[in-house]
């Protein structure tokens, strides 16, 4: 495609050269898979657009404010400090022990919670774009995942400051958090596909998801340490939010999670991904009509 002011410019090599949608023989399972995979492939090839969109989202949220995105860091810091001192007393534990745990927990949980709540609007928020251009739906998934990673990047500062201030030892086990975090990104993308599509069709789902997440926050050992359960920890592996949180949090606190926790986290993630893919196969071509 050429820019008119420079008519000599060569067409961009990667520009899309048309498309084919062939439903003469119906839309079978193979055709659905092929189109969904091509959606993902085109979405990945537009990664620059997804990154720009996510960065503009954050800029937009803090446009006109003096501190800008640093508010993300600051509000998390205030929250951690306030809750840390109060709950350390409530739980009869020392600040030194509790505050680093809480800082890490809260920051990681806010990533999960924001990811899930954004997932519900992954397609409805992009109504304008979806209706005016042919854009792969996976692009919006990329936008949401990238946006939440950027936000997490701001909040990580709080963890670092707390860990340094309390001289929390970090050992090599922390490396185990890296593959676990990659699993988070996959889960985040799957959740955005699943909830984005479901919420575009059924507008009652976001409030349901919201209340589930609120309950999950209290039962999933975010604020309290699993050992506060005094021997009843084994029940926690049935809570997907707990195990998925734990596989990143545990290593950063120096402990490798149990095998059960890994099995649970991987199992629940696999179920989520399968559901998301099947839903996407089924509804991808209908989303434009729903929003």
């Amino acid at each position: 495609m050429n820019v008119i002011s420079d008519p000599q410019a060569a067409p961009l090599p990667e520009a899309e050269r048309g498309f084919t949608i062939d439903l003469r023989h119906g839309l079978g399972f193979v055709a659905r898979n092929r189109m969904a995979i091509s959606d993902i492939a085109r979405g990945l090839s537009l990664w620059r657009l997804a990154l720009t969109l996510s960065w503009l989202d954050i800029r937009l949220r803090y446009r006109g404010s003096v501190l800008g995105p640093l508010w993300l860091t600051l509000s998390t810091a205030v929250m951690v400090a306030a809750l840390g001192f109060l709950y350390a007393v409530l739980f009869h534990t020392t600040i030194r022990d509790y505050l680093p745990f809480l800082a890490l927990s809260l920051v990681l949980w806010s990533f999960i919670a924001a990811m899930v709540s954004d997932a519900c609007t992954s397609f409805t928020q992009a109504e304008n774009m979806i209706r005016s251009m042919r854009i792969p739906f996976s692009l919006y998934i990329g936008q949401i995942v990238a946006r939440n990673v950027l936000i997490l990047g701001h909040n990580v500062i709080v963890i670092v400051v707390v860990f340094v201030a309390f001289q929390v030892p970090v050992n090599l086990n922390a490396l185990a958090a890296i593959p676990a975090f990659l699993l988070w990104l996959v889960d985040g993308a799957a959740a955005s596909l699943l909830f984005g599509a479901l919420c575009a069709r059924f507008r009652d789902i976001p409030p349901i998801v919201g209340s589930v997440m609120q309950i999950a926050f209290y039962v999933s050992a975010v604020m309290w340490k699993p050992d506060f359960l005094h021997g009843h920890q084994s029940f926690l592996v049935y809570d997907p939010f707990y195990t998925i949180l734990q596989i990143v949090r545990g290593p950063l606190l120096g402990q490798i999670p149990t095998m059960h926790a890994y099995i649970s986290a991987l199992g629940f993630s696999a179920v989520l991904c399968i559901f998301a893919w099947l839903t996407f196969l089924r509804v991808r071509h209908r989303i434009a009509f729903w929003i």
């Binding site: 495609m1 050429n2 002011s5 084919t20 949608i21 537009l46 657009l49 209706r131 251009m133 009509f289």
Partner: protein
């Protein structure tokens, strides 16, 4: 590669999810009986049949005008050609780069500045840094936005929004150009400039598909006309032939009140 559009037995249905309640459904079905476009599909959902068995092929050099009354399916057909709406049956095949000028806001985010919106558009067309800068400069100069270019689109006047959308959409030259008629409007001082640019873009495109109520535009720009009625192709042929038949029943009203709602 020569541009080409192939459409075969294209059908598009809009689901009406919010009309599910029994009584409402019955009312709507009854009201639509005259049109027969509200149908129940296999899952007993209420659907509007926006397009039914549309078939045509366009080769390089063809200039297609879409005419028909409000709700005949012109815009839906454009959206289907743009790949926004995927069909429930049939086949759509587009060869060549495509640019669709569908709605005036063109997916712009009103909170972002003009420049940021242009950047997003450039990224969508997979441009790199210098390409986007050239694009932004071209749009800024053509749309006469001046300092407003770096302010949120939300505070623009409606004329400025149209100029920005127009400049942005016409800065990228596709092989296949799909255009809804709002592009032919704009404030008077801007219109001549816009027309010049649009004409150069139309000349540059291999294929043009234009949906409009302005009969003289169709006659001067198009080489072929498809007349849509109730989602079906009522006539397809050379401009003069189809337009004579169309304006015969058109009572001349569309020319007086072209649907160029830009408010």
């Amino acid at each position: 590669m020569a541009a080409r559009i192939e459409v075969q037995d294209l059908s598009i249905q809009f689901p009406l999810y919010h009309g599910q309640s029994r009584s409402l459904k019955r009312t709507m079905l009854a009201r639509a009986k005259g049109l027969r476009r509200l149908q129940e599909n296999s899952q007993h959902r209420l659907v509007v049949e926006a397009l039914r068995n549309v078939t045509f092929t366009l080769g390089a050099g063809e200039r297609l005008g879409l005419v028909g009354h409000n709700g005949a399916g012109k815009t839906t057909l454009l959206r289907a050609l743009a790949g926004v709406y995927e069909p429930v049956a049939g086949r759509v095949r587009i060869e060549g780069t495509l640019n669709a000028l569908l709605d005036p806001n063109q997916g712009m985010n009103m909170e972002l500045t003009g420049r940021e919106n242009v950047t997003l558009r450039g990224r969508y067309h997979r441009m790199n840094g210098p390409g986007i800068e050239a694009l932004a400069e071209d749009v800024r100069v053509f749309a006469e936005l001046g300092d407003f270019f770096d302010l949120p689109v939300r505070i623009y006047s409606s004329g400025m929004i149209v100029r920005l959308a127009f400049a942005m959409a016409t800065a990228i030259r596709p092989q296949v150009l799909l255009m809804d008629e709002w592009f032919l409007a704009g404030d008077a001082s801007f219109r001549n400039k816009a027309r010049e640019r649009l004409e150069s873009m139309v000349r540059g495109a291999d294929i043009l598909v234009l949906s409009t109520h302005l009969n003289d535009v169709v006659r001067s720009w198009c080489s072929r006309v498809i007349w849509l009625e109730d989602g079906r192709v009522k006539a397809d042929g050379p401009v003069d032939q189809v337009m004579d038949a169309f304006s015969g029943i058109g009572e001349g009203v569309p020319a007086l009140f072209p649907e160029t709602a830009l408010s």
